[in-house]
Symmetry: C2
Subunit: 231 residues, 2 copies
Amino acid sequence: MYKIEINDFFTSAFSVDCVIFGYSDGEIKALLIQRGMEPYTHFWAIPGDLVYPSEDLPDAAQRILHELTGLENVEMHQSRTFGSPNRHPQGRVITISYFALIRISDFEIKASSWAEKAMWVSLNDIPELAFDHNQILSSTYELLKQKLNNEPICFEMLEQRFTLNEFQQLYEYAFDQTLDKANFRKKIKALPLVPSNESQKNVRHRPAKLFSFDYEKYSSAVQEDNFQFKL
Amino acid sequence: MYKIEINDFFTSAFSVDCVIFGYSDGEIKALLIQRGMEPYTHFWAIPGDLVYPSEDLPDAAQRILHELTGLENVEMHQSRTFGSPNRHPQGRVITISYFALIRISDFEIKASSWAEKAMWVSLNDIPELAFDHNQILSSTYELLKQKLNNEPICFEMLEQRFTLNEFQQLYEYAFDQTLDKANFRKKIKALPLVPSNESQKNVRHRPAKLFSFDYEKYSSAVQEDNFQFKL
DNA sequence: ACTAATTATTGTTTTTTTTACAATAAGTAA
DNA sequence: TTACTTATTGTAAAAAAAACAATAATTAGT
């Protein structure tokens, strides 16, 4: 039998894939790029690329997302790792997926490097993607939904100021159920939402008040009062 | 500037680390090995090793756990991935941690390959471990605790037959709180626990009845009635 | 300025779940 | 048979969630 040497192990590469979620027009969307490079040329894909041999993973995620889509300063969190031996045609490449939620309107996306296009795509309209990216995307979306119930991350994808209805509709979309408006408002009474002076514009009915989420109040409530977000 | 070539990327390795939890004497324990190999010789560590270039990750986890500790047929689930550039002194090695819960009494552990010893260590007595294994262990324990609340995995570490008190004590240990006995029993009324004819032995008081968890009933309840485990 | 339309916002009652606490039953060992 | 200890069941109070209803506020159009 062939004895495997230590150097035989150091023949792999790894990549990060950045699953970026946003919310607009009542739908959750993911940021995708069109590949302008072998393999899977012209396929749509999650923005991702190989990690430099001496680069830390979170740094790589930031760099790669920026190179491909122009997004800067997006803090991402680790999702899952995908490592089937044949997932990449050019060799053994393990990919670590990262994810983040952003406000679509706060960023300008701009395809660059080897990305031909970059585009927000509704989760209802995801085409066949390169590699195992369909699996990565759906698995990360499951993680997102789980976190929506336990962490106040929805405010990262809502507009900075939002109506309570918009807040509610995001949850109704994600969990595919309608919620009682009155009870929803009672539930969120515990959250540090601060009302602004402004209201909705350009609606032909009583405009709703705009709220924003107070992150500072939230984190001190977590620390001091052992508060736990739960929806 | 030096231009990086595709082959420069294929110079990394990756490993899996198998965090195995068990429960005995009222304490959650982890299975550790003592390393008989460079680097970190004689340090205690989570069982883990490099993955073969064409090996799938779950297979690697099974193989490596078996080689080092003798454990066979332990189904593991993915935890997190750790990839700091300097976490391994011999090169860039990313590690994917897997975890499983097992019944300590069902398995015989036996150190082999380059493991000098293998031993169950209470989570209260974890020494300084090799590499970043302390971080891996505590991060995986957090994941375990989260899952304890939402999935019936505790029965994988309890004896096949257990008293309701043992069941309760496991949760009291994990979440460091005392629970009301009467209320705990009401809560678990929804679970498919089947009473056996036998009772505790060798106790100087009324012995408790032994129960076991019916996995089949559980999974059909999940599918048919949309049942959800929650504690 | 008035009206119709629409939605925001608040309130009340009912039901369910959780919590706290108490009482009883059952088995062991002496 | 008795003392002891724990298992098991029950009940009442408190809190949370769900269902439903009513009122208030604002805009657009006449």
